[in-house]
């Protein structure tokens, strides 16, 4: 039987990988992938805790996170397409139109 701690460590590791990727990469596709990693790290956490404290609410919440992630991916892809059309690439540093 694998203990709760193992899941927590796994979740932390995945979240940290995602966060570092989110901060360091400039390619928008990789940024999206990093965000997915962070969301799924949270999901691992939710499901594991839900199992160990014997409360199904956590698993239900995980489904919501998946649904939000799907929606976010759809919008993200739309942004990606718009970016690649206007800037001929997918580097976020090139899009600075929102500078105040």
């Amino acid at each position: 039987m694998v203990g709760l701690n193992a899941y927590m460590w796994l979740s932390l590791a995945v979240f940290t990988i995602g966060m570092i990727g989110f901060l360091t990469r400039r390619n928008i596709i990789v940024i999206f992938m990093s965000i997915e990693l962070m969301l799924n790290a949270v999901n691992i956490n939710l499901v594991a805790l839900s199992h160990f404290i014997e409360d199904l609410n956590g698993q239900v919440l995980a489904f919501f996170v998946i649904a939000v992630a799907a929606a976010e991916a759809a919008i993200g892809l739309a942004i990606l397409i718009a970016l690649s059309r206007t800037k001929a690439g997918c580097h976020v540093d090139e899009a600075t139109e929102m500078k105040g």
């Binding site: 901060l23 139109e97 929102m98 500078k99």
Partner: protein, 647 residues
């Protein structure tokens, strides 16, 4: 009779809305087709209502809760009693005639629809004022007629003097209305209601109550009465707030006749008569009213003696006659004051409309020294003006004689003060007869002194103007016949000769004088005598283009008196020194240079400038780089985690 009486004020209001909304685009020079029938309808309903009141049925009902706020309750309500009935006849009657007259007088003016719209609005406001059953609605009407007066004095707003006169009337009235407003507030604080009936019912209960103002005790009723009287002084152009009325003659002549002679300026007298239960309980306030009235009557009459502008003479005459009405109220003879108001409404409107007819013929000339000999060119105007002048001069048989005589007689019976005021009032009657016939002599008799062009152009006015003149002339004769003194009534075998006073007794009471018959005969004879002397004096001095009057001015003493009168006792100059200039100085030095620039502009310009500088710094944060935002989010996340774990 149901609620048909509501048509009296609201028909003119309808006319106002139609003309003001559609006048400029569609109605234009047909505005009278809207206004005149509506005001005529209003007059017809008014006459029916008056007949009901004469039949003994009065109305006092609330129709609509206007304001309810805690203890403060005010309704829109109407009170039609004997006093209102008299006012209805004057207001609706003169208003209708002036509307008809204006068809001819204002013909071809570019603001024709606007003129009728304002005239309608004025009629509505004045009717609301007299038909109100509470002080707040009275105040509403009071301010609304003031507003219409302002609109109509400044009707020829392209002329600077007219615009200035409008402003002057409005601002001078502010002084009086401030007191009036305070009076209404004190009434509410004292009685907890603003309706006439409960207030007048409870006023006896506060006799002897005092109020502390600046550390001095004052009788509460006197304070209320004097504050209300402040408003009357402003609106009815009594000393010291009379200065606006002569300048108000810048407005079109029908306006002078309606607003500044027959109706609006008499609102003060009406209000004092309406509030007679309050005034009666304060002998001091009554004396103030009587003295202000008598002094104004004499003061304005002396100025009227020497003016050359036909409308200004009549304006001073109005001031003077209003003084008579206040004198009557002040000696407790409210019914005599209202009687004079009622007769004066007709003959004074006639004088103004006649003056308007003269101006119409003379292409706007106002100087009576440039007229002369108009009798043969304007026969109807001449005869009607002559009747009005006989009436105001107090020739027996005419309306003005009966009303003025009643005031003189009632004043005479009021103790020591009454005797002094009686002498002043009798002297005023002499001057009144004199200046009225000065106009008649200089304008209508003698040789024409204007330009050839004017002489060539002389013509009688159109029918729309002469018919109201003739109707008013009939009024100037017969309106007095409802209040013939008992003495004369008995002598010629009339029963109910003093019907008018009996009619008003339920509202204003009737004073019981202690004078004897012999004294009454004396008062009547003296009043006839001064009228005749005044007329004869004018006929003597102003015959042959006034050469005898000119000769009088060669006397240095008389000529310096003339100079003082000509300059209206320098009251305008005095106000200019003590009020206008200091105010302008404060406005320029303190308000403009300090309050405006240092305080207000500092705030309104300083706040946006500070926000601008702050946001200039903050915009650096918004770099547009996604990675910067990502770092900010992560830092924020860490901060939240740290905060949560510290707790």
């Amino acid at each position: 009779m149901g609620k048909t009486y509501l048509l009296i004020p609201f028909l003119p209001l309808l006319g106002f809305f139609i003309n003001i909304l559609f006048g400029r685009e569609y109605i234009r020079d047909k505005a009278h087709w809207v206004s005149v029938p509506l005001v005529g309808g209003s007059l017809a309903v008014a006459i029916l209502t008056i007949a009901e009141v004469i039949g003994g049925r009065t109305i006092n009902e609330d129709l609509y809760s206007w304001i309810v706020s805690g203890d403060f309750k005010v309704s829109v309500g109407f009170l039609v009693d004997q006093l209102t009935a008299v006012m209805l006849l004057v207001v609706a009657g003169v208003s209708f005639l002036v509307h008809v007259y204006s068809i001819g007088y204002m013909h071809g003016d570019e603001g024709y629809y606007r003129f009728f719209a304002y005239l309608n609005l004025f009629t509505f406001s004045m009717l609301m004022l007299i038909m109100s059953n509470n002080f707040l609605q009275l105040y509403f009407g009071w301010e609304a007629v003031g507003l219409c007066s302002y609109f109509l004095i400044g009707y020829f707003f392209k002329k600077k003097s007219a615009a200035d006169a409008g402003k002057k009337a409005f601002i001078v009235n502010r002084f009086g209305d401030f007191g009036f407003g305070l009076g209404v507030i004190v009434i509410f604080l004292t009685f907890g209601t603003l309706h006439y009936q409960p207030v007048f019912g409870a006023v006896k209960g506060i006799v002897g109550n005092t109020v502390l103002i600046f550390g001095h005790e004052f009788d509460l009723i006197t304070v209320i009465a004097l504050l209300l009287f402040c408003g009357a002084v402003g609106k009815s152009a009594q000393l010291p707030l009379h200065v606006w009325l002569p300048d108000a003659m810048e407005g079109p002549t029908p306006v002078s006749a309606l607003i500044h002679a027959a109706t609006m300026v008499t609102a003060g007298v009406f209000m004092v008569a309406r509030c007679n239960p309050i005034f009666n309980l304060s002998p001091f306030a009554m004396d103030v009213v009587a003295v202000v009235g008598a002094v104004t009557a004499l003061f304005a009459a002396t100025i009227g003696l020497v003016q050359n502008d036909i409308k200004r003479i009549i304006a001073y005459s109005t001031c003077s006659q209003l003084g008579y009405m206040f004198l009557a109220c002040g000696v407790g003879a409210y019914s005599a004051g209202i009687f004079h108001l009622y007769t004066h409404g007709f003959f004074k409107a006639l004088l103004f409309l006649g003056a308007g007819s003269v101006m119409h013929a003379m292409s706007g000339e106002l100087d009576i020294w440039k007229m002369g000999g108009l009798k043969k060119h304007l026969p109807i105007t001449y005869w009607t003006m002559l009747l009005a002048s006989l009436s105001i001069a107090g020739v027996p048989g005419f309306a003005g004689f009966f009303s003025k005589d009643e005031i003189l007689w009632q004043t005479f019976q009021r103790g020591e003060l009454g005797k002094v005021l009686y002498v002043m009032a009798t002297l005023t009657a002499l001057l009144t007869a004199f200046y009225s016939f000065r106009i008649v002599m200089l304008a209508f008799h003698g040789k024409f002194r204007g330009t050839h062009e004017q002489e060539h152009h002389l013509h009688e006015s159109p029918t729309a103007m002469t018919v109201p003149l003739m109707v008013l002339a009939v009024g100037a004769i017969i309106t007095g016949w409802v209040g013939i003194p008992q003495l004369i009534g008995d002598a010629i075998g009339l029963t109910h000769s003093t019907w008018f006073f009996e009619f008003l007794t339920p509202v204003v009471g009737h004073p019981h004088g202690e004078g004897t018959h012999a004294q009454e005969v004396m008062v009547i004879l003296v009043s006839i005598l001064v009228g005749v002397i005044g007329i004869a004096g004018a006929l003597y001095f102003y015959a042959r283009q006034g050469e005898r009057a000119d000769k009088l001015l060669e006397n240095p003493a008389l000529s310096s008196v003339h100079r003082v009168l000509w300059n209206k006792y320098y009251v305008d100059e005095l106000y200019d020194r003590i009020i206008i200039r200091p105010t302008m100085w404060v406005a320029a030095r303190v308000v403009q240079n300090f309050t405006d620039t240092r305080i207000i502009e500092f705030i309104v310009n300083g706040v946006p400038a500070a926000i601008g500088r702050l946001s200039e710094r903050m915009r650096a944060l918004q770099s547009g780089l996604l990675s910067n935002y990502a770092v900010a989010m992560v830092i924020g996340l860490f901060l939240i985690i740290v905060l949560l774990s510290v707790r």
